[in-house]
Amino acid sequence: MRTALFPRMAALVLATGTAVTVMAACSSSDSGNSASGSVTISVNCQPPTSDPIDRKAFNDDIAIFEKAHPNIHIQPKDEFPCDDPKTFDAKLAGGQMENVFYVYYTDVAHVISEGQAADINSDVSGVKGLGDIQTSTLGVFKGPNGHLYGLPKTNYSMGLLYNRALFTQAGLDPNSPPATWDDVRTDAKKIAALGNGIVGYADYSASNQGGWHFTAELYSQGGSMVSSNGKEAAFNDAAGKAVLTNLQQMRWTDNSMGTKQLLTIPDVQAMMGAGKLGMYVAAPDNLPTLVKQYQGSYNNLAIAPMPGDHATLLGGDGYMFNVKDTPAQIQAGIQWLQFENLTPGAGQFNYQRSAANGSPVGLPEPDLWKGSTATADDQAKAKYANVPSQNDQDFITAMKTKQGKIEPVDAQQIYSVLDGVMSAVLTNQGANIDQLLSDASTKVNSLLANQ
């Protein structure tokens, strides 16, 4: 008899990782200041040893930074994924969270509301270029009091990731991907007609990912998940119905979504990497994974703007500051983040180095900047680009103009409800969409009421 275990699922369901504690001590993260005025901060999300190129780049950056700031010492922690919900709370509970810790956009509100992040509003006045970060991106890290609690690292918006080779094979033009959901349907049908186990369009329907994609697709149809006061479900309308009807028709009428459902991220990525999938909704951060883990190729993969003329779902990541950090540690952390993540030409934006290392340059994310910094960044990227970024040109252009909406509050629990809706539509031919939406709406209302 086996004792039940939470299973390992990185390559297949959830990626996981571990945090590396700095000091062995029972108490909080680390020593902070010493008498001579030097500061030590722990920073997580160092790339793992299985990613030697990025890891070396990160370590080199630390060396460069420490040389420029001799009184700051950085202790990196590697873990993958950098933000693992399974260890997040435990780390916080045990005081093991790093001084400067990595978060997804979706965690920010929760972390702030639980009082687990330091308010850095007064400390960021020295940060250059803060004004050139896109307002919506920076806004993610602002608390209800309007103060800043963290700094972004990347952002992404959802688009349509597609396989150029399959498009060509199906007689479609890989340079003009579908721009409306009707087009998606037509194209998916043609790709699925290629046979041989090839799927035209795939979507998630398990582990809350179905709900997440429903949200993205709802935004693209012009809908919203919750009302503006956050108290009521708002997806039981024409937009919501359009999303589901579209999926239903692709699944059952056209048969272009394949028979295997209850898919999650690794399932779909595996299909795409193996050349068995025409298109799916994704963010550009999928591209490196498809190439590294699933043996796809950059030449073949492209990303188009989200179909439909409306908004798209925004996401991203960044760093926040442990509420127990000393002011000196916060200052040090801000300086590090500024160097590594927010300085064009250095740190993560050191395109010259990336190109020399063979890392992909020219992917359409992140897209943090506006104004003159944006222009400079684009030029630098173009100069060193080594992936066919013309594949993604439309997406890049659209990113600047398309409205981006972030996830609703209490996203995960709402996604859980919508997961049921997605899986119903995709596994049950006789699913009644109106009924499903209405039931889901009632459930979400009761959830929101009980917060």
Binding site: R2, T3, A10, T16, T18, V20, A24, T49, G197
Partner: protein
């Protein structure tokens, strides 16, 4: 050696096994079970081992292939070096080995005490131990973690130490219960005889009871090692130092940047030692049983 002579008599009578009809039935059942077992239990292993040798697109492609069209046995070597499996395996062996030892010693002692010595409050203690079977271990993970961070009274921090695996592993109610059950079956006469001969409870345990207990010790050992070997969430939490993690966590951590077939190869390599361990302990069970039924 005839069929019947190969082992102690059980359900089938020796006479029927000598008859021709009996032999036909026996071999038919034998063959049937063999095929069933190979299909049900060996085929997945084959699939896992051969899958690791496929290229990733072939691995995930549909329809799936029964054998690799282009075998890459080198995946195993690559996985070993890319994922630094040697280090992770060493960690796992240390953690599982220590947990096994501690569990055998502590649980056997406790089961013996509860079963044969029946101290005051023994039933209460047993009840408390069995009650832990009702609480799912995963749900306890965070409080357990907080305990490991700061052990009450001694204020030690067990993070990144194998003790964080060994000590909780010793609290295995199921194995303790198996042991106690076994000891319960040992007749009191035997214990009486031993004590009349002047042996105290400990001597009785060591010289008389333990040698008898080989079968159940074998079973308990297998369960103990497998539980620690396969555990994931707990080592994920307590080993923040990457070099100390066991193989389940280590492979997980590195998998995201490596091709899927390599990850599968790593998982195969991670399971292989378990099979070896099983064979070792499994023989122990047979040896213990084959030593004959102890009479009286």
């Amino acid at each position: 050696m005839s069929i019947a002579q190969r082992g102690p008599r059980s359900l089938a009578s020796p006479m029927s096994l000598r008859s021709t009809q009996g032999k036909i039935v026996y071999w038919a059942i034998f063959g049937g079970m063999l095929i069933l077992f190979v299909l049900a239990f060996l085929f997945p292993i084959y699939w896992m081992v051969s899958g690791a040798m496929k290229s990733t697109p072939e691995l995930v492609g549909t329809p799936p292939t029964l054998y690799p069209h282009q075998a890459h046995p080198g995946n195993y070597a690559t996985a070993w070096s890319d994922m630094n499996l040697g280090q992770y395996l060493t960690n796992t062996v240390i953690q599982a080995g220590g947990a096994w030892l501690l569990q055998i010693v502590l649980c056997t002692a406790a089961a013996y005490a509860l079963s044969k010595m029946r101290p005051l409050f023994g039933r209460v203690i047993l009840g408390g131990i069995l009650a832990t079977l009702m609480v799912p271990t995963q749900a306890l993970v965070v409080p357990k973690y907080l305990t490991a961070l700061d052990v009450p009274f001694i204020h030690a921090n067990l993070l990144n130490s194998p003790l964080a695996i060994w000590l909780p592993a010793a609290a295995n109610a199921f194995n303790l219960y198996l042991l106690k059950r076994f000891f319960d079956q040992i007749p009191d006469d035997l214990m009486e005889a031993a004590s009349l001969d002047g042996a105290g409870p400990i001597r009785t345990l060591w010289y008389i009871v333990l040698p008898m207990a080989r079968p159940v010790l074998g079973v308990v050992s297998i369960f103990a090692v497998v539980a620690v070997w396969q555990d994931f969430l707990w080592p994920l939490l307590v080993f923040t130092d990457g070099t100390k993690q066991p193989i389940t966590v280590g492979v997980e951590q590195l998998a995201a940047n490596l091709p899927l077939n390599e990850t599968l190869a790593a998982l195969v390599l991670a399971s292989a030692p378990l099979v070896a361990v099983f064979l070792v302990f499994q023989r122990h069970i047979i040896a213990g049983l084959g030593a004959g039924s102890v009479k009286g």
